[in-house]
């Protein structure tokens, strides 16, 4: 019998909808796989066996009664990043401070998944409050990269990407503030998309940096990502920053791309994202990918985006500033961790001691950075200047998209680094998001699609494709065409079966 965990989401959906297999069987296969390998991967913080099986039974019941599937991926299992609220199911954001919190409401993304009949297997590990590039900042231990378990799976959404590479789920949801979907996708050989800012509702996405956060699809193929994208995207009146416009036709674009023809597409290579700091194997993989895009008929030109160089420092002022305010609510008064409530401490002391105990080092570092950047007397020099850089980066993108349809670069300068290698060097850690941050600052759409393995260490490399805001469909057309040309990759992931924790 076919190993159901090896199928793509679209393949699984076809079998379920034709009633060749049931959603319950597909769900059980993935739950079994999680039970077998997650001790070695630690992709999941919580597995909701009962909730998943109930959702699967509902889909099977409806199909048995002759009803049409409620969505193209109805019945397909999915791993949900633990930063999106799930009613009655733990939502920790990888933090001690929310260890026992049961949200009383579903995020809009969660609700849309449920309404589409998608089976939520559980919640995936992440850097605490999505702050990090390695998932080592989780309060619940690091997630390991299925390609090499001594290495990081990227971050902050390492759990979601690792669950795909470990065949624990065919689909996952990530969130991307500075690269937290794309960089994990790159280092795990999977696909990850940061939609246009406002394309997917942020309601119920526990905020790190409100003006940058965006939830998006993670999958093992571009088409699967497109199918998931269409389920979660669309206007939401509960999110004021949600765009009231039709969802770009991403599935149609992915199917068009699968035909392998990019004639008439203009691709711009970002000149600033190469050279020093870029691993040679990553650079070679990227150059090979660009050559393949040409072979597919695309016209390739080099484009300069001079202000992209300032993206990283601007990001490390804007994101911490917003986070210092967003995370102020974790004060022990209404929910979450509360320490020192022993009758001898004042409310102010309980707030302070709880925050001391509940937040990890990286979260504290960013809260302090942001508090400082917003302080009176420093605001203009830091937060104010960073906002100006943001405008310049948006202009760089606009100028570039007058010349080309999409921009490309490596997703991240290196392949997966070793666990522990950068924990004591935050600046080295921050460099992992060098190429992904500009799209967050400008709010446009971007994807990471695997460009094979680095010839020097045999680890996955990601090709980043960037498109203008609301032109997410361009990512899918180019990404799917490239994926066909590149050929299969995931059959080269080391076998995890039989591993022990």
């Amino acid at each position: 019998m076919t190993d159901l965990t090896r199928l793509t989401a679209s393949e699984l959906a076809a079998k379920i909808h034709k009633q060749e297999i049931t959603s319950v069987e597909a769900t059980k296969a993935h739950l079994d796989r999680i039970a077998e390998v997650d001790g070695a991967v630690n992709a999941f913080l919580h597995v909701d066996t009962e909730g998943a099986l109930a959702a699967a039974r509902k889909v099977d019941g409806d199909l048995a009664e002759g009803r049409e599937p409620v969505s193209p991926i109805a019945g397909v299992p999915l791993a949900l990043k633990d930063v999106l609220t799930t009613k009655g199911v733990p939502t920790t954001c990888g933090s001690k401070t929310l260890e026992n919190w049961l949200p009383p409401y579903d995020a809009t993304v969660t609700r849309r998944l449920r309404e589409a009949g998608v089976v939520i297997l559980g919640k995936t590990n992440m850097d605490e409050f999505a702050m990090g590039s390695s998932t080592e900042n989780s309060a619940y231990g690091p997630t390991r990269n299925p390609w090499d378990r001594e290495r990081i799976p990227g971050g902050s959404g390492g759990g979601s990407s690792a669950s795909l590479a470990a065949f624990e789920a065919p689909l996952a949801i990530g969130t991307d503030t500075g690269g937290s979907i794309r960089q994990p996708a790159a280092v795990t050989g999977t696909v990850g998309v940061k939609p246009t800012y406002g394309g997917v509702s942020r309601y119920g996405l526990v905020a790190f940096s409100s003006s940058l956060d965006q939830a998006g699809p993670c999958a093992r193929s571009v088409l699967d990502a497109a199918l998931l994208h269409e389920v979660i995207a669309g206007h939401d009146p509960m999110d004021s920053t949600s765009i009231d416009a039709p969802v770009p036709p991403v599935v149609t674009a992915a199917r068009a791309g699968l035909k392998g023809d990019l004639t008439g597409v203009k691709v711009g290579v970002v000149a600033e994202f190469s050279g020093e700091g870029y691993q040679p194997g990553v650079q070679r993989s990227f150059e090979a990918a660009v050559a393949q895009l040409k072979d597919l008929g695309a016209e390739v030109v080099e484009v300069s985006c001079p202000n992209f160089t300032y993206a990283l420092p601007a990001y490390y002022l804007i994101a911490p500033s917003e986070c210092s305010s967003n995370l102020a609510r974790f004060d022990a008064m209404r929910y979450g961790l509360r320490v020192a409530d022993d009758g001898t401490h004042s409310a102010e002391e309980v707030m302070s001691l709880t925050r001391e105990a509940g937040f990890g080092a990286e979260v504290k570092r960013r809260i302090m950075l942001g508090t400082y950047a917003l302080s009176s007397g420093y605001y203009d020099a830091y937060y104010g200047s960073a906002q100006k850089v943001r405008t310049l980066i948006t202009r760089d993108f606009s100028a570039a998209f007058e010349k080309v349809d999409v921009l490309v670069s490596p997703t991240t300068p290196t392949t997966a680094f070793k666990i522990g290698e950068r924990v004591d060097d935050p600046l080295a850690m921050y460099l992992a998001d060098l190429c992904t941050i500009p799209a967050n600052l400008a709010g446009n759409a971007a994807m990471s699609v695997p460009s094979g393995l680095s010839d020097e260490d045999g680890l996955p490399v990601g090709l980043q494709i960037m498109a203008p805001a609301l032109a997410d469909d361009r990512l899918y057309r180019v990404g799917a065409a490239y994926e066909v040309a590149r050929g299969p990759l995931l059959d080269r992931i080391p076998e995890l079966k039989g591993v022990s924790a």
Binding site: Y203, S321, A328, R334, A347
Partner: protein, 501 residues
Amino acid sequence: MTAVVDLMDYAEVVERYDPVLGLEVHVELSTKTKMFCGCPNLFGGEPNTHVCPTCLGLPGALPVVNGRAVESAIRIGLALNCEIAEWCRFARKNYFYPDMPKNFQTSQYDEPIAFNGHLDVVLDDGEVVRVDIERAHMEEDTGKSLHVGGATGRIHGAEHSLLDYNRAGVPLIEIVTKPIVGMGERAPEVARAYVAALRDLLRAMDVSDVRMDQGSLRCDANVSLMPKGTSEFGTRTETKNVNSLRSVERAVRYEMTRQAAVLASGGTVTQETRHFQEADGSTSAGRTKETAEDYRYFPEPDLVPIAPSREWVEELRATIPELPWERRKRIQAEWNLTDEELRDLVNTGAADLVAATVDAGAEPGEARSWWVQYLTQQANTRDVELADLAITPVHVARVIELVKSGELTNKLAREVVQGVLAGEGEPDEVVANRGLKVVSDDSALLTAVDEALAAQPDVAEKIRGGKVQAAGAIVGAVMKATKGQADAKRVRELILERVGA
């Protein structure tokens, strides 16, 4: 709490110093729902029942602006002769306090929706003072804390605190004056008159309950003194939450006498917030401003900017009702009142009520007589303000109409008004339920007349003999028999008819 405070005699204060006032008034809007969520905006209620993820600041929840609140803010701005911003934003005001769910207040900072206005205030003697308005901006209210134990009722020293978030997120408009200078000894009176004028204005616009006793209108009074002949403002204090008109006047006067004593003895005024003591009219020190927090304001990233179109602003301008002072000018002319008569009307709080009663169809004389005499008595007996009586101008107009049409006598009308004041419903309901209608059915009256004539044949004889004034005794008997519900004039006519006089 009973430390002796030096106060300077008021006459001496105004001889030696010029007071400078700044008034900040917070007004709770009477919208159906809260500022950023769909929870009901109602005073009171069981604690923590008017709450949802957004107004509790739960992780992931997002705000959506209440369009009605923006509309009210613009209308208030227009009524205060302000410019309305073509583009403005919300900002986060960051500080920690347990009754503030997010530990930041969503407010407006350097981009208020309305600015540069003025309000003309009429003092008791008819003098008009123009108070310049700096700005009016939108924000959300906090929850309420109840600090149990401890001496002061404040958070420091309390044994424990109870939190009620029903008020959290209620829409507020904060109206800030420019410094009010040159008022001399009338400064306390100007402060009261300004708040009273604002209250009357907002009530006429029907945008707020403006109940100072319930906190839907709250005033913070900034007071400083400068020695006569100088022009540099002194150090100010801010007396918080002064919750009646009388208290506004007392608080300003007290601060003037206290600060003058400090300055005269060579001391310096401490910049601080102070609390008003209702019992003795004094103020006491709160936290000092030197240690006050840096609010780290920055634009609210969860909300989009507000850009009211000029067409919309003009539409709203057309909805501003006749303003209270304009109406007063008009009624003085129309009713031919002396300045003194008008002032009496205004001082009892009756002017607007009389005008509204006239608008509802009553004759000015009748309307004035009801409000100034009978209802003012009723308000005094109940120790409430005239406007807070449970009867509306529309009710009073209806009662006047019923008297005019002969359906009620004056005595019955007062009974109906008592019923309305007792909460028995609209005048017509009270008439029906209490059975107070004048007996106008002649046949019923004739029976009573015949009975009364038969009972007093000697009187009947006198009338028949031409002593028409003797009919009074029969009228009295009929009125007694009909429990006063007969129209005495008609009874007299029937008696004369019956005896053939």
